[in-house]
Amino acid sequence: MVNTYEETEVAVEKRFVPKPLDINADIAWAKINKDILRSLERPRPIFWVIFIASFALFLVGVSCEVYQYQTGMGVANLDNPQMWGLYIATFIWWIGMGHSGTLLSALLHIMHADWRKPIYRYSEAMTTFTLLTAALFVLVHLGRIWQFYYVVAYPNERWTWPNFQSPLVWDATAIGTYLTSSLLFLYIGMIPDLAICRDNAVGIRKKLYTFMSLGWMGTDRQWANFRVTYLTLACFLMPLAVSVHSIVSTDFAASQQPGYHITSFPPYFVAGAIYSGLAVIITLFIVLRYTFRFEEYMTMPILEKLAKLTFAAGMVWTYLNLIEYATTWYGNDMYAKQALIYRATGPFAPEWWLMNFLGSVLPFALTFKRVRASIPVMLFMSIFINFGMWLERWMIISPTLAHGIYPWTWDDDQWPSFIQWGIVAGSFGWFNMLFMLYCKIFPSVSMYEVKEMLHERRFFKSTNVATARDSAINPDLAVEGGLAS
């Protein structure tokens, strides 16, 4: 029984604070600016270690590509029937990984999930850079880079037939749309923060931020337009992200190749994309948190939510994976069934079983709070899950092509050459380098949205406590269906 006003207040505060706060609600707004802006100037030394290592990897990739360009595609050990190999597998992996950033940001924005606010910016940037990295593989895979423009279908005087019936053309259109739209979504969301950077920068940085912030002053008219624009873009980007990866899946599903011609491929690809994207968001979360001293913003409750979401995505992916196996098995198409058996028992069996373990079994560890609460364990978990998802793409491409309809085309011995591995490694260097540069030049945590998050928290808390206190003191004031009930 509570008696005094103060006791009542404490009691209702204990009772009605809805859930643990994702970040400390008492951080001063000026401190938010200071902390995030400091990340643009003085990251921890590990930043330079990552950057230099990434640059070295990138050089490895460039050297391999130059060698392949000079010598010919033979050095990649790509030939019929294995004409795609690691290049296209990694291309799909990068494309897929990019889907979670923007998709998650848009989805959580529409659902008003405020825990997205400290992490959405770098996730969107990740999308942009993964798409740029993926695009490199189209060039690398071509071999004859100077003839790239032949790929783009357009009516022209050479009378090249623009084959709009080909999923590859849909793919190019969809990815182009996604890249430019994601870039605009990222940029528009960044304008208020660029204005903060402009107000605090000097020299060439000030010029850059002044140019990019477009004279933003935070007026009520600008905010009103901003709110509508950002929400509208989020609404467009959600179906776009789903459409892009389902279109990527039609590159395979629309073919007659056994192992590719599967109805569930579009949702399977989308689920895989979200799953691997979430895993990489966790990896980058941990790296940025340490490198840029974001411990106060990228907090453990947010990491825990990401881990739960990853587990959910992993289970969706597992279900769709099992559905694929089941329909192939019970569908009794001789060729498709043989392709499945070949994957599980042939020369690619170790990779296939490892993929299933990393993608479907390992995420069960995320159900344990101790795992979710440990940063080193989460770092390794996210990397291993992503490795599993990379294996998944490889297992879609290579074993299937190695074991087609006609036995005389079968080929078990085309293991990727060092050139292929080198270029794949180079793509990681390229991505890391671009991403780390981005984080050094632009704020990777949204300052104004973190402030909004705190503002809403304070407002929510004070409103709830006030309402609850009123209703506890005088039950007649209780809001119908509200907190007092």
């Binding site: 709009f164 477009l214 002053m217 009103a224 104004y448």
Partner: protein, 174 residues
Amino acid sequence: MSKSHMLALFSDFDQASEAIRDLKSSNFEGFKLDDVTLKSPIEHPEIEELLGKRPVYVRIFTFFGALFVPLLGFLFVASSQATFLLQPKGGKPVIPLPPNFVLTYEFFILGGVYMTVLGFFISAKLPMKRNKLYNARVSEDQIGILIKAEDAIMPAIKDLFTRHNPLEIMGGDN
């Protein structure tokens, strides 16, 4: 009668909204609420209760972009295919609808997104030259009220602001 600008900075939104509420009820001659601008580090949609709804034309752009760009896209694709009218297609249609719908859908998104962004720039008047009466603290943690009013009533407005304990008042002296 010449007009000038004044910017008052407040430490929080509640103080600033109280000042605007007072300003609204003061009925200064020749003063319009349209001439009041709130500058804030975050969005405060609740200010619309005091200042009225601000014009947002973004959705009009979105509507037209999402309507016409896919139509143009479909025509672009179909006309490309129709260029090859005389080429043998092995029984396949010259303008195949299902794949064209996939591409039209992408154009729908593309048109919607691009026109929304264009609408944002036009409706929010971006890029714009920054007003001289700008304080960087507005992008940090303070709330600014920018007023455009006739010189004759500026001192009265300044007095009103002063009653609400502003952190700083800039301008208002022509």
